[in-house]
């Protein structure tokens, strides 16, 4: 009798695991690319972003049973991503991973960045966006590149919607300034009258 109960329990566990795997499969297909991009906006390193994205879905898998649907899958998965990225940015281990010792870009220090030899974002304007401090570039990218509303960004990042708007506004100002500087630099001193 006891043996039969054990077999039934095992079968039930296997069935649950299978169900969870299918659910995970769906979520990875649905949100995988978004998670990858979000992680990239934070970490600015595609290989670390891939590492984080894997970890996100491992955690999703582990916590699927506990997910209470108080928020959407979208918010839940994005929140996990944001938290993991922040952990990475905070950790000393992450700093070690940055090739060439260029941690300034991640600390949000303005000015020209030197990201030689590492994968650099294509496109002049995108490069300028990615050179913004992390808290500004993330909201800017999510809002303008992925059409996330300020409310969605607030839910994902765990900051107030008003703060998101402020960050967006400051990000725009900062970007405007940097783009203008870029134009002046390109024009060169000899061409200005």
């Amino acid at each position: 009798m006891e043996k039969m109960v054990t077999v039934q329990a095992k079968a039930r566990t296997a069935e649950q695991n299978e169900q969870r795997s299918q659910e995970l499969e769906y979520l990875m297909r649905r949100f995988g690319d978004q998670v990858l991009r979000l992680a990239y906006y934070y970490l600015r390193d595609r290989y670390l972003a891939e590492d984080v994205a894997q970890e996100v879905f491992c955690r999703v898998y582990q916590n699927l049973d506990d997910f209470r649907h108080e928020s959407s899958y979208f918010t839940w998965i994005h929140r996990i991503t944001v938290n993991l990225c922040r952990d990475h940015l905070r950790s000393a281990a992450f700093r070690r991973w940055i090739p060439w010792g260029d941690s300034h870009t991640l600390e949000g220090i303005g000015g020209k960045t030197e990201r030689h030899l590492e994968a650099v974002e294509g496109g002049e304007v995108l490069q300028k966006v990615m050179d913004l401090p992390v808290k500004y570039r993330v909201v800017l990218a999510l809002h303008y590149f992925h059409d996330y509303s300020t409310r969605e960004i607030a839910e994902i990042t765990g900051i107030k919607e008003g703060t998101v708007r402020v960050h967006l506004s400051r990000a725009r100002q900062m970007l405007k300034k940097r783009l203008t500087q870029g134009v002046e630099e390109n024009a060169g001193p000899g061409t200005r009258h």
Binding site: N17, S21, L24, E25, M28, R29, G32, D33, V35, L36, R37, Y40, R46, Y47, E50, A53, Q54, F57, C58, R59, Y61, Q62, D87, S91, A93, W97, P99, W100, G101, D102, E114, H116, L117, A119, V120, E121, G122, G123, E124, V125, L126, K128, V129, L140, A141, Y144, F145, R172, L175, K176, L179, T180
Partner: protein, 330 residues
């Protein structure tokens, strides 16, 4: 700049982002996640902090274990210690071994061991360099250096790098992840007593390394047109300072193309001061911290004399003539 202009720029950035992310999808990673979830099903995934502590503990234990188990007599071309062979059950068999002559008349062994752990999606590699402690105890071996490489990697053949005028040599140790095409490598030097790291890189995308006349040429994939073929090239020039304070370089002149990089690599104690005389090279960054190097980028064709002076040396220093040419047709 007006708001409208900025909005136009942001639309342009959006297009650039789409282009940048095109072809980079989560799809290939799904399998890895499935494997990880299957492997850890029913067990808690350790947090990264604990994970790192565990990893360090494992490495320390492994290194200690190796030290204990190496007193046998090794062969010159392969590791033949019976005690080490017997370790197969607990510690995986060495997967690859090389004899390194890092100093004339001495032999060091480089061994790669696979490390596995349930929480790791794939095995890692531990590289160990050890040598016979000849003068004091001929049957004992001491650990000179150990390092680990990321998951799913295979060892690449080790290479010795010789600098003219030096009787101690450098070695290039590298591994490659054949699936994800990452290259991990270390350039290490030996001063007759200990091994020190000159340069370390991990996760070099699409990395290729060649050694020409003591200069390492690293190629890596880039995602933008830093060079027209989507690859960047970095010339890694190792240097040493001999006991008399002379700077030893592998070459006296080097030809580069515009857009390529030049990096001098040495030990922390012998950091370099560098001066440029021409306009062909642009200094990028002098790095403080674990690695010591001077970085330059070739920005225009012409010649450049790089003056090099070790900071803690009163020796004569050295110079390297760089000829920068326009990139050839791809």
């Amino acid at each position: 700049m007006r708001d409208q202009e900025l909005d136009t720029k942001l639309k342009q950035a959006r297009k650039e982002a789409n282009q940048f992310f095109a072809g980079w999808t989560f799809g290939p990673l799904q399998k890895v996640v499935h494997r990880r979830t299957q492997e850890t099903a029913g067990t808690a995934v350790p947090s990264r902090g604990r994970f790192l502590v565990w990893t360090r503990t494992l490495l320390a234990a492994t290194a200690a274990l190796l030290l204990l188990c190496l007193p046998g007599q090794p062969g010159t071309d392969s590791l033949t210690s019976p005690r080490l062979r017997d370790l197969g059950a607990g510690l995986n068999q060495p997967v690859s071994q090389y004899t390194l002559n890092l100093k004339d008349s001495t032999k060091q062994q480089l061994s790669f061991f696979r490390l596995s752990h349930p929480a790791w999606p794939e095995d890692r590699l531990l590289a160990v360099i050890w040598e016979q402690d000849r003068p004091t105890a001929p049957n004992k071996y001491r650990l000179l250096y150990s390092t680990t490489f990321g998951s799913g990697v295979n060892p690449e053949p080790a290479q010795r790098i010789q600098l003219p005028g030096s009787n101690t040599h450098l070695a290039l140790i590298a591994t490659r992840n054949p699936t994800l095409e990452y290259l991990h490598y270390r350039v290490i030097g030996y001063d007759g007593k200990s091994v020190t790291s000159y340069w370390e890189q991990d996760f070099v995308p699409g990395g290729r390394l060649e050694v020409h006349a003591g200069v390492l040429v690293e190629r890596r994939r880039t995602d933008v047109n830093l060079t027209s073929n989507g690859h960047s090239v970095n010339f890694l020039v190792p240097y040493q300072v001999d006991p008399a304070g002379n700077l030893l370089l592998p070459v006296q002149r080097l030809q580069m193309e515009v857009g390529q990089y030049l990096t001098f690599i040495g030990t922390q104690e012998k950091a370099l001061q560098t001066d440029l005389e021409g306009m062909a090279l642009d200094r990028i960054q002098s790095m403080e911290g674990e690695q010591t190097a001077a970085h330059f980028r070739a920005v225009q064709s012409g010649t450049e004399m790089v003056e090099l002076q070790p900071r803690n040396s009163s020796g004569p220093g050295g110079r390297l003539l760089i000829e920068v040419v326009e990139p050839g047709p791809q």
